[in-house]
Structure formats: structure tokens, C-alpha cells
Symmetry: C2
């Protein structure tokens, strides 16, 4: 199970999620402990989980397909919720693909009960006493979905052990991270592994 240290680090075992309340100004780092692991990152307004970070509205705000250092992520009400401070990974991060869910795994022929990022999201929110009306399209950190012409490719993540992407919260929010359990499509190299999330004070 997940463990949280005094320094604010929570280690997510492979295939699990974690939700945390974050105050405006705090920093959030997602660390790929073992390398090659995708994380689905969701964020909701603290006072209303009906408002969420939206990949689509962020694309409209930035006119970019992929996140870049210095950019803001906005909600479905077009309010800034996170900003991207820094990134040590060599790859891009995806904002095109929705969270894996039971319907996705059913389509891939997996057994019912296969863990999913959508399941991890809602379980994480429930652990905080919250519910969200939808499964928003997440920011998929370390996920490598290059676009070639009109085509998307699904490639294994190239993040290295210890690579980290760091955000700052721009409003009080709830952040949920899922260590993606996808083992039937190659995005995690066929072997889902751990992630860590650090919640750091405002600097």
C-alpha cells in the first residue's frame, strides 16, 4: 500500500492511485521511480469537484498539443489550476488520450476487475470523501504519444528512474495521480511500476 514520509513523499505501488488536497502555491512533483512509467494526473477545484483540469480547454488556451514548461493548465471553466514549473524527463507528456477504464480493458480482452486509472481516480477521491461527476481527460505524464501527420503512435515511456515533472497549484485543489496499470498496450513497456508524488511547500 501507499506510504507517505515526513518529507511529503507518497510512493504509489504499481497500478494504484493517490489523492491529496493541495493549497494554492504548493508544488507537486511526480517522480518516475523506476523509469518508463506513465502517470495519469487529475486536478479538481477544492471547493467543487465539478470543476476540473481540462486537457481540451488547456489546448485552446495554449494552442499546443503537449505541455511545455511555464504553461498553465486550465479547468473546464477556463480558470488556471496548475502551472508547469520544470521537467527533467526527455519525453513529452500526453494530453490527447483519456484515462484507461473498465470499458477500455474489456475491449482489450482483459479480465473484469483489471485496475484502471479511472478506477484509481474515483477510489482516490472517495478516500477524501469526494465524488466527481465525470472522469476528466487527464494530463498523462511521461506518456509518449507522438503525432506523425494525422496519426498517433503509442510508444513506451522513455522517462528514466528519478525523472520528475513539477507543477505549482494556482488554486486550492485536489490532485489525483494514478500509476497507470496499462499492461496490454506498450505505453508502460508491458510492466507497470511505481510512481512517487511529492507535495512541497510554496517556495
Amino acid at each position: 500500500m501507499e506510504t507517505t514520509t515526513a518529507e511529503g513523499r507518497t510512493i504509489l505501488p504499481a497500478r494504484t492511485g493517490h489523492a491529496a488536497r493541495v493549497a494554492a502555491g504548493q508544488r507537486i512533483s511526480v517522480i518516475d521511480l523506476d523509469g518508463g512509467q506513465v502517470g495519469d494526473l487529475f486536478a479538481f477545484a477544492a471547493d467543487d469537484p465539478g470543476e476540473h483540469l481540462s486537457a481540451g480547454h488547456t489546448r485552446a488556451a495554449t494552442s499546443r498539443l503537449f505541455p511545455a514548461a511555464g504553461q498553465d493548465f486550465v479547468t473546464d471553466r477556463r480558470r488556471p489550476i496548475l502551472t508547469l514549473l520544470s521537467d527533467t524527463s526527455p519525453g513529452r507528456h500526453d494530453m490527447l488520450i483519456p484515462a484507461c477504464d473498465p470499458a477500455r480493458y474489456a475491449g482489450l480482452g482483459a479480465d473484469p476487475g483489471h485496475p484502471s486509472c479511472a478506477g484509481n481516480l474515483h477510489a482516490g477521491l472517495a478516500a477524501l470523501g469526494l465524488t466527481a461527476p465525470v472522469t476528466p481527460q487527464p494530463v498523462n505524464v511521461f506518456m509518449r504519444i507522438p503525432v506523425e501527420g494525422d496519426e498517433l503512435r503509442w510508444l513506451p515511456a522513455v522517462s528514466r528512474p528519478g525523472d520528475a515533472i513539477t507543477f505549482r497549484a494556482l488554486m486550492d485543489c485536489v490532485v489525483v495521480l494514478s500509476a497507470c496499470p496499462q499492461d496490454l498496450v506498450g505505453i508502460n513497456g508491458g510492466q507497470p511500476t511505481r510512481l512517487a508524488i511529492d507535495l512541497l511547500p510554496a517556495d
Copy 2:
């Protein structure tokens, strides 16, 4: 106001929307009567407006950024809802940008009350006695958002008068079309105009 002919054509005045129930097998054509006009097309499962055509889940299903003839569009539960039969327009159709809404127009400095595709969506559903819990990201027919490297560009639609894109419903559904009222960004060439929607029997 909108008018519907005996042949199943409804003409949407500039900046307005229209919602209609469509049976599985029926065909739906969106016609750009005057040229250069974007339409935001939404579709919901007839028996549950909580299930909707999802641009993100469709990208995951097709591994493509833009619609192509012969492809299916799927819902947020990954069920096929529409298929793309034919397209006479020279351009692409967008699946990256969310519907314009009051927050978008506020950010652009418009007066409160500027019409929006989100507003047209919910008004159209209300006219059928329906409500949807969210504003799904639509299929933006005739909308020209090319991707160059990592960057999106917002260009005027190049559809010609009479150009049509035709879908078939794969389940009983509710389809909503909005003649996009955007006049502050150049996607409609600065001058929103009419659209038509034809509901045709199964062939």
C-alpha cells in the same frame, strides 16, 4: 428562427443551435450553406444524456487526430455512436478544441450574453426536455485547426457553399448542431453564417 422542411432539412440561422432525436441507422448531413462556417456537433445516447460522443475516446479508438471517412466516433463509454460516411469539404474537421462558452467570450472581452456553442447545446437539449451534466468536447465540422509540430493554428474554415459532411447514427441518439457564433477569433472568417442539418432515413 429555425425552419424544418418536409424533406427533413432544418436551417439554423447564424449563431443558433438545433437538437434532434435520431434513430439508429438514420443519416445526418451537416451542410455549410454559405461557406466558411464551423459547426459544433454533439451526440448523446438517447436513453441517457450522461453518455456522449467523446472526442478523446474517439482519438484513442482511431489513433488519429482528425476524422476520416469510414471511421466511427465513440462515446465516453467507448460505444460507437456515429460513423462518418462522406465529406465533400476540402478541409479537415477539428477534434481538439472545446465548445466556445461564456467563459471563452469573457476572456475575449465580449459582452455578457454573447451566444456560444455551449449555450446553444444546452438550449437545444432543453427544447427536447433533456439536460446533460457536462458540455462534451464536440466534433467541430469544417473547423480548420492544423497542427504544425506542437503548435495549433486557428484558421478560417475553407468549406464552400453547399459542402456537406454526412454521418450515420449507430445507436438511437440525440444530435445537437450549433452554428458557431465565434466572431472574435477568425475560424468563421469573422462573420458567422447559417448551417443546415438534414435528417435522412436509413438507406
